[in-house]
């Protein structure tokens, strides 16, 4: 049977890892909007400089859910510094590729993680911008980022 997505994407889509809310999260980031059809919300729990736990909730297409799942897996247990190095390319590679017009989902995942880390810093009273950089979000006018 042929599939729209690769087996690996489907595996992460149908059995997403780290799905749900994190009660004791100390950083929460949300990216995207319902108008564009994709929202990713990431909950992280940082201890020291390490992301000891991470969960996500995602509204979106199969690849949005799959990238959320794999991205959280790639981040969990990593230091913030390592997490900030996660690029959307790495996420796509980890999934074994995505259809061309679904690449934006991996960008969302990267940005959602950055948003959660930025939130963590903000809660610590630290300006996140020098560390995390600007976070791109969907704009009303253009759903593609």
């Amino acid at each position: 049977m042929a599939q729209y997505y690769s087996d690996f994407v489907m595996e992460h889509f149908t059995n997403p890892r780290n799905v749900g809310e994190l009660e004791d999260a100390n950083g929460v980031g949300e990216i995207g909007n319902a108008k564009c059809g994709d929202i990713m919300k990431m909950y992280i729990k940082v201890e020291g400089d390490r992301i000891v736990d991470i969960k996500f909730k995602t509204f979106g297409c199969g690849s949005a859910i799959a990238t959320s799942s794999i991205a959280t897996e790639m981040i969990k247990g990593k230091t913030i510094e390592e997490a900030l190095k996660l690029t959307n390319k790495a996420v796509v590679e980890a999934l074994g590729g995505l259809p061309a017009h679904k690449i934006h989902c991996s960008v969302l995942a990267e940005q959602a993680i950055k948003a959660a880390i930025a939130d963590y810093y903000k809660r610590q009273g630290i300006d996140p911008t020098p560390i995390v950089g600007e976070i791109q979000d969907h704009h009303e006018e253009a759903c593609d980022i």
Binding site: I39, F59, G62, A64, H101
Partner: protein, 396 residues
């Protein structure tokens, strides 16, 4: 997956075995070119002539008004583009259509706009119906063409085609209808409804893919979209797809002959599905007109979830359904049809189209009623949008 539950009959349909049987000779020993003089070619010619008569009979038009094409898209492009070019010469550069047409119509209109045509897209109400008053007011002295679909491919709404036809005829404006979703499913009366041009596509009524027709009222000198040989009375060039044409006619015949019997039975199944879903799934709604609706069509929106992931999980259960037009699956924007009936973007994203055929059984409906609510709540449980809805928060 045990069994395939195919409920995407608006996307395409199964070729009926009886239809394939009729096609087979023309895919095997009867391969003569219908334009050839010898008997071997004339056999194919005769089969095409008979197919033309069949189409004429079931759509109530003349045989010489039937022109075979490669499908609905070609028919739409041909009718609209070439009627526009024909009437441009008489100074008519205005076209009226609706906001919910298929892309084969809308993109053709876009192309014409770039060439200087003015296009008025009539709005539709919350059920997807145009207003006859709007149409009357939109017609101008320089209106070349009114093109309004017979029935919508996403929400199944059936337009008041006979009324539209009457007004256009009275006002002396050409009327084309994209009847791709209507033909073979509900009664279509070309002459009785005062239609000037009508598009149809065989694979939407259990015929083969890649063949359709444009019916053009006698007397309209529609220029060719595809120029060349003398096929189709010189109006549509290209060696005829004999097997496809024979298949189209047979599928039309079978669909029309059993229509009276099939419509109530499909409707009963569909209505049970609609009632069941709306009752079991909170914050769900039916899109499209409750009455003026294709017999097999059910289109739902579920708040808080996104259609593609819904489809993928249905696929896992062997259920083939759609989240809008199958043709637009490359796009990120929610369906223009759902937006036109006033759905907010976020809700439009969470739509599911189920389109039944005569093949679908009561067990299929049972399964859908079991599986859809499960999947919807599974997706909602991981949806940040649903979280907001539950908390009573605003979301766009």
């Amino acid at each position: 997956m045990d069994r395939l539950i195919y409920v995407d009959n608006a996307a395409t349909t199964r070729i009926l075995p009886e239809v394939l049987d009729k096609m087979m000779p023309y895919l095997t020993e009867q391969y003569g070119n219908p334009s050839s003089l010898y008997s071997f070619g004339q056999n194919a010619r005769q089969a095409i002539d008979e197919a033309r008569d069949t189409v004429a009979k079931y759509l109530n038009c003349r045989s010489d008004e039937v022109f075979f094409t490669s499908g609905g898209s070609e028919s739409d492009n041909w009718a609209i583009r070439m009627a526009a070019h024909m009437l441009e010469k008489k100074g008519k550069k205005h076209i009226i259509s609706t906001a919910i047409e298929h892309h084969a119509v809308l993109h053709t209109l876009n192309a014409l706009e770039k060439q200087g045509f003015e296009v008025t897209l009539l709005p539709v109400n919350e059920y997807g119906l145009i207003s006859i008053e709007d149409l009357k007011n939109a017609i101008r002295d320089d209106t070349a063409l009114v093109t309004i679909m017979f029935a919508n491919n996403e929400i199944g709404t059936i337009q008041p085609v006979a009324e539209i036809g009457k007004i256009c005829r009275e006002r002396g404006v050409l009327f084309h209808t994209d009847a791709v979703q209507a033909v073979g499913h509900i009664p279509v009366d070309f002459s009785g409804m005062n239609i000037d041009m009508l598009s149809l596509s065989a694979h939407k009524f259990h015929g083969p893919k890649g063949v359709g027709a444009l019916i053009v009222r006698k007397g309209i000198r529609l220029p060719s979209l595809i120029e060349g040989g003398a096929q189709e009375k010189g109006r549509r060039a290209g060696t005829e797809n004999t097997a496809g044409i024979v298949g189209l006619a047979e599928a039309l015949k079978l669909s029309c002959e059993k229509m009276d019997e099939v419509i109530p039975s499909i409707k009963a199944k569909r209505d049970r599905l609609i009632e069941g879903i709306l009752k079991t799934v909170e914050r769900s709604r039916l899109n499209g007109d409750p009455v003026h609706r294709l017999p097999g069509n059910a289109n739902f929106s579920f708040e808080g979830i996104e259609g593609e992931s819904l489809l993928l999980l249905l696929d896992f259960k062997g259920i083939c359904a759609s989240s809008g037009s199958a043709c637009t699956s490359g796009s990120l924007d929610p369906s223009h049809v759902l937006l036109a009936i006033g759905l907010p973007h976020a809700i439009a994203h969470g739509s599911l189209r189920i389109t039944l055929s005569d093949d679908n059984t009561d067990e299929d409906i049972d399964l859908l009623l079991e599986v859809i609510p499960q999947i919807v709540s599974q997706l909602r449980s991981m949806s940040p949008v649903w979280e907001k809805i539950v908390k009573g928060e605003k979301y766009e």
